[in-house]
Symmetry: C2
Subunit: 342 residues, 2 copies
DNA sequence: CTGTTAGCGCATTCAT
DNA sequence: ATGAATGCGCTAACAG
């Protein structure tokens, strides 16, 4: 165990900046400067300080730093869920961008609930984070007010079809849905079905649905059948829901799913039921998950760059600690993957 | 925008405990007590204080609290990766247990690198977290020393086949591998193949492999063929690697995969290659992922309770803020899922 | 280039 | 049941 002098004589415990200063024979302030690389420091003193830090195994107390500077090296991250693989991928992007910085991610899960989100935002704000990353645009008024008053930078991810608080990063789900429809129509499909999950939680799925319908309408078509399941998307839900849809309406040419999880499930149903995918029934998803692309027939879908969204959010937020005058929108785009299922 | 008195007259900004005290006409100390529910407070003053808090929208500054009490409501979480679905599921368990508390998760990703881990541990410790949750037993000496000196509680997750720093929560991968082998042998399989991924990063996969080999040896058998791919596990890797294995050794009866991702890929290969799963070739995985269970033929595998591991870790850590005298091991167990692929 | 002086906002003694 | 005093460890002016 290390022994060193502290404020009041010899102590066992965690060394502080004071201990480093004493050992290096400089003022606390100088040590602080060395640590933060701020202001001019003579090479000789820098060396003495760094070796003192080394010797003591000094680690700055972030709470103290944060209190003194009223700002922290924390980035608040609010995710609606960790069950849907999409959000861990966003988080991966966030961490990847954070890795080259000193920032740490303070992560909260809202469970798709605006009130839960409000509580977490309040807790996060208590740490004076450098910025907050959230998902979507559904916040309570109280949440908006807290965010407004705190003046922290805020990124709202995934969607860009609304006015952001500060900066929005993602893609237009309405447009993605629309383009999916156009794409499938151009491939000759006319009799469309839709298989989806609960969209009271997942608003973006609904926007894609609306875009799809718009494209159909424009072409003088409509959905011949649709089936939605309560609860979140999953492979099993997709499998069962497609089965149900086909029972009611067997003469569908192509099914658009609310996302890839559902579509993969649909693929499995076709496999079990002996339905020739694409020849007899086209399948189309959304997200471009690995699992879909590793199917014996790669899923036809839309790639939504989740990793990029997370990564871009961090980069954009760290560009400036002040909110820009104009609300910003970053379109990370999407790509239609032809695949082999539609 | 709120206006209120602060230390030096009227101010715009975030209200502090001082502001609350002034508004409620009590001392700061009393406000602090009300907030933390400590000590006796007259009902009348409690009401005045809470309504003052309400009125100002006061949120305690955690950094200040942490500094004053040298402890925080933070829980450090170190995950090797977010790409492997297994870890988001652990994180989900952690968050689920944290949800009913005031604690927040400070999350870092090590990328399976002990030195990266060391850096993150150091950063986390700077926040004086209540506890730290890590994965596995591979840490640098420096990491161990830091953890030792800091005296924070430490949980090491996933594995229980080693001596933990404080508490280990997970399952015996060696035993799980062994039991998988016994199970398959009892089902009549004799000609075993193995398809795996890079285990310099994923040590637990190796332990399962060793357990499997031990079971085979005990039954007078050996692996007839094995094929490992560089890099992490994935469905595509599983698909391609099984293909390669079968090219070299077509007369295998059953293939054990390093995990479900790989096994699902193997299943897809069989589908494409027209190999009758189970009749002609048995497939066996590890983890019990949803995707495996939603296959047309549910994957035969072992369920490792990831969610439970994360959840249990938090519960155990919060039981006491002091390390127990004896290092603790919590076995969350595993269950062999019969499935339909072996 | 470096030291001095003041707090940051709260929790923790100790009083009363 | 409440208040007053003190300091946690650090950063931010301001000097020099």
């Amino acid at each position: 165990m290390l022994v060193f002098k502290s404020g009041k004589g010899f102590m066992y415990g965690v060394p502080t900046l004071t201990d480093v200063a004493r050992l290096a024979g400089v003022s606390e302030n100088t040590v602080s400067r060395v640590i933060r690389n701020k202001g001019p420091i003579a090479d000789s003193t820098r060396t003495r300080v760094t070796s003192a830090i080394e010797e003591l195994g000094y680690v700055p107390n972030r709470a103290a730093g944060s209190l003194a500077s009223s700002g922290s090296m924390l980035m608040g991250v609010l995710l609606p869920s960790l069950s849907n693989i999409v959000f861990p991928e966003v988080l991966r992007g966030i961490h990847s961008a954070l890795a080259s910085t000193e920032y740490q991610a303070l992560v909260g899960v809202t469970d798709y609930d605006a009130l839960t989100e409000q509580g977490i935002v309040s807790s996060l704000l208590a740490w004076k984070p450098a910025a907050i990353i959230m998902t979507g645009f559904d916040h309570t008024d109280a949440t908006r007010r807290m965010l407004e008053n705190s003046r922290v930078r805020v990124a709202e991810l995934m969607d860009i079809d609304a006015e952001p608080i500060d900066i929005a990063i993602g893609l237009s789900h309405r447009k993605a849905g629309y383009d999916s429809g156009r794409h499938l129509i151009s491939r000759g499909y006319r009799r469309f079905g839709y298989v989806g999950h609960d969209w009271t939680a997942d608003r973006r799925a609904r926007k894609r649905y609306e875009g799809l319908c718009a494209a159909l309408l424009e072409a003088g078509l409509t959905l011949k059948a649709e089936q939605r399941v309560d609860g979140p998307s999953s492979t099993i839900a997709g499998r069962d829901t497609l089965a149900r849809l086909l029972t009611k309406k067997p003469d569908i040419e192509v099914v658009v799913f609310s996302n890839d999880d559902m579509a993969v499930g649909g693929f499995f149903h076709c496999l079990s039921a002996g339905i020739a995918v694409k020849e007899k029934l086209g399948l189309f998803g959304f997200n471009g998950l690995d699992i879909g692309q590793s199917l014996p027939a790669p899923l036809s879908t839309v790639r939504s760059n989740r990793f990029l969204i997370g990564q871009t959010a961090v980069e954009k937020l760290l560009e400036s600690s002040e909110r820009p005058l104009e609300r910003q929108i970053v379109d990370t785009g999407y790509v239609i993957i032809e695949g082999a299922t539609a």
